[in-house]
């Protein structure tokens, strides 16, 4: 029966729920300025009168503020929506940057082999032995020592993207290199070499499309990691400043009010962060099993 085979091919329920959550997040993030009840950056849109109101479902809650308000009277729904936006943008930026660097270096290593290959791969070995958070914190510290405070504030997202991507490109490079070495031995690449196509063209037009599927799978799994790393760095105070808070910054701010009993200021953005990362992880696991069972979990 046709519908049964269709049902069989559908992904499991957990994956569909995760997909739904991600779809909602994408819509929320794109239309955040229209959906958010107020603009957290516009001082005139909130008032200190509304400060420290608990979420609407609790005693003393206010139906205007679904998730409550923070210590300055800002609506947490709005603050979280804008924070979510920054978290996702930085996560995507880091993944794209790492993928671009990793794919190019992986193609070159796999295609040419020899000395180039050894240098790139040994460098990668040393780099991955240091955890991403440690490297990112070091880069953040170096940036602070070298640049003025204003520059650091202004360039915070770029510094973060760079700091996270510095370690993450290695995984792309390793995978792409391995696949490229397989492809290089195939007839179509040999034929392309024989008719004298330039190496760059063979790599970009002929080999790249054949290694893209694993790049996509790694990207999904790495997106969850990148969002987590960004949140951790911001929580530690080495990421986004309170003027442009990401989810991590919001949790850092909320942490100061934990002992005053205002738990929701920290817990609400943390819950959003965990749900987002969980959804991305579920989809990443599914894609990995489906398209590339040989890719190992990190």
């Amino acid at each position: 029966m046709a519908w049964q085979s269709l049902l069989h091919r559908l992904p499991p329920v957990s994956v569909m729920i995760a997909g739904l959550i991600l779809a909602i997040v994408v819509v929320l993030v794109i239309f955040a300025p229209m959906i958010a009840p107020m603009d957290p950056r516009d001082v005139s849109s909130y008032s200190l009168m509304d400060m420290e109101i608990p979420p609407a479902f609790m005693e003393g809650g206010d139906s205007r503020f679904l998730l409550g308000t923070d210590n300055q009277g800002r609506d947490l729904v709005s603050v979280i929506l804008f924070g979510l936006r920054i978290s996702i943008l930085i996560g995507l930026g880091a993944v794209l940057f790492a993928a671009a660097v990793g794919v190019v270096l992986g193609l070159i290593s796999g295609f040419f082999g020899g000395v180039v290959d050894s240098i790139v791969m040994r460098f990668a070995d040393v780099l991955v032995s240091f955890p991403t958070i440690l490297v990112a914190l070091l880069i953040s510290g170096i940036a602070r020592a070298q640049l003025s405070a204003d520059t650091v504030l202004l360039w915070a997202p770029v510094i973060l993207i760079f700091a996270i991507a510095v370690n993450e490109w290695v995984q792309y490079a390793r995978t792409v290199r391995a696949s490229t070495m397989v492809e290089v031995a195939r007839d179509y690449v040999r034929a392309a070499k024989v008719i004298g196509l330039p190496s760059g063209r063979i790599m970009m037009r002929h080999i790249l499309p054949n290694v893209m599927s694993s790049v996509m799978v790694i990207s999904t799994i790495n997106l969850a990691g990148a969002i987590l790393t960004e949140a951790t760095l911001s929580f530690l105070g080495a990421g986004m400043p309170p003027t442009y808070p990401s989810l991590g910054t919001l949790i850092r701010i909320g942490n100061q009010f934990l002992f005053s009993g205002l738990w929701w200021i920290a817990v609400m953005p943390a819950a959003v962060l965990v749900i987002l990362v969980l959804a991305v992880n579920v989809i990443g696991d599914y894609l990995r099993d489906r398209f590339n069972p040989k890719l190992m979990a990190r």
Partner: protein
């Protein structure tokens, strides 16, 4: 065997050299060491004199060699922030971090291995299913959020446990220990659980998948056919082989452990090396950053060597090769 170890030793030395070079570049070029050390309103002549006494006017290669010499003698420069030698600063923070990391690792192994075995042997048991579904949540839960929730529940609401610091310490001369007082032990509980959770998830998953692999192998089936007791087959024959990768991964995860220790120490204001490091990032205290990098590099190389040696003890096949 000796050949393998000597190749590994050479690789380790290369890694150390690379890390030392990066630390040197940080010391020398990030920020201006002269500007950081000279008194306010110093003349150009005074600055030049300081530059000369620090040896910053010599050729770079010579400076690097001198730097390596100083590092080998344990001189890691002076902290900008505390105006103390970085080496003694690191040493004073080492006990706090080590106590935390050791307790967390022991906890992760003691809980993770039995749970992993259970999930492999009885996948349908309630506890196995519960553990399995919790692991994905565990992976998606950032360490700082775990710590935050534990503080919220056990320190803020229930008021059972302290949320920051190490409590009362006993000074053993070379070691400030929190193991010997009640408040010291109580302070240890929340941070060590936070740090153990991520390792626990990893160890549990690994033991489970390795156990499943090993149980389907011929020698286990043969052991069943011989009618050997189940406890002997599971405990002696299967688990021993399933634990091989656990040793490697626990060793290789040392980098991750350091990273998560940094986060955990910051969440709980645990006065260890990780907290020193995050504070140095914000300050920014470049000598502390560079020294910490050196320390982590050294630790990483050391642990790798230990794992290699441990391997030959667990797996007799490697000894003859």
């Amino acid at each position: 065997m000796i050949r393998i170890l000597s190749v590994r030793l050479l690789q380790a030395l290369l890694v150390m050299l690379a890390v030392t070079a990066i630390a040197f570049i940080m010391f020398r070029f990030v920020g201006d060491p002269v500007a950081a050390m000279v008194r306010e309103g110093a003349t150009q002549a005074e600055k030049d004199a300081l530059r000369a006494t620090l040896g910053l006017d010599k050729p770079l290669v010579l400076q690097f060699i001198e730097f390596v010499g100083r590092v080998l003698r344990g001189d890691l420069g002076t902290s900008f922030r505390y105006q103390q030698p970085v080496a003694s600063l690191l040493m004073s923070r080492l006990p706090a971090t080590l106590e935390l990391v050791i307790i967390a690792t022991v906890m992760a192994l003691a809980i993770g291995i039995p749970l992993g075995v259970l999930c492999a042997l009885k996948p349908q048991a309630v506890l196995s299913r519960l553990t399995q579904s919790m692991t994905l949540v565990g992976i998606s839960m950032p360490t700082f959020v775990t710590g935050l929730l534990l503080i919220l529940i056990f320190a803020v609401n229930l008021r059972w446990l302290p949320s920051s610091g190490r409590g009362d310490l006993v000074d053993l001369g070379f070691w400030q220990s929190g193991f010997l007082t009640a408040s010291g032990l109580k302070s240890l509980i929340l941070p060590s659980i936070t740090l153990a959770l991520f390792q626990l998830t990893l160890i549990m998953r690994l033991v489970r998948s390795e156990m499943i692999d090993v149980l389907s192998s011929d020698y286990i089936r043969f052991a069943f056919a011989r009618g050997l007791p189940r406890s002997y087959i599971y405990g002696r024959l299967a688990l021993r082989n399933a634990l091989m990768p656990v040793v490697t991964v626990t060793g290789l995860q040392i980098g991750q452990l350091i990273a998560f220790a940094i986060v955990t120490e910051t969440v709980f204001q645990w006065p260890g090396m990780g907290l020193l490091f995050t504070n140095a990032v914000g300050y920014p205290d470049v000598p502390v950053l560079a020294a910490y990098l050196l320390f982590v590099g050294f630790l990483f190389v050391l642990i790798n060597m230990i794992v290699d040696v441990l391997y030959t003890f667990i797996d007799p096949r490697l000894r003859t090769k």
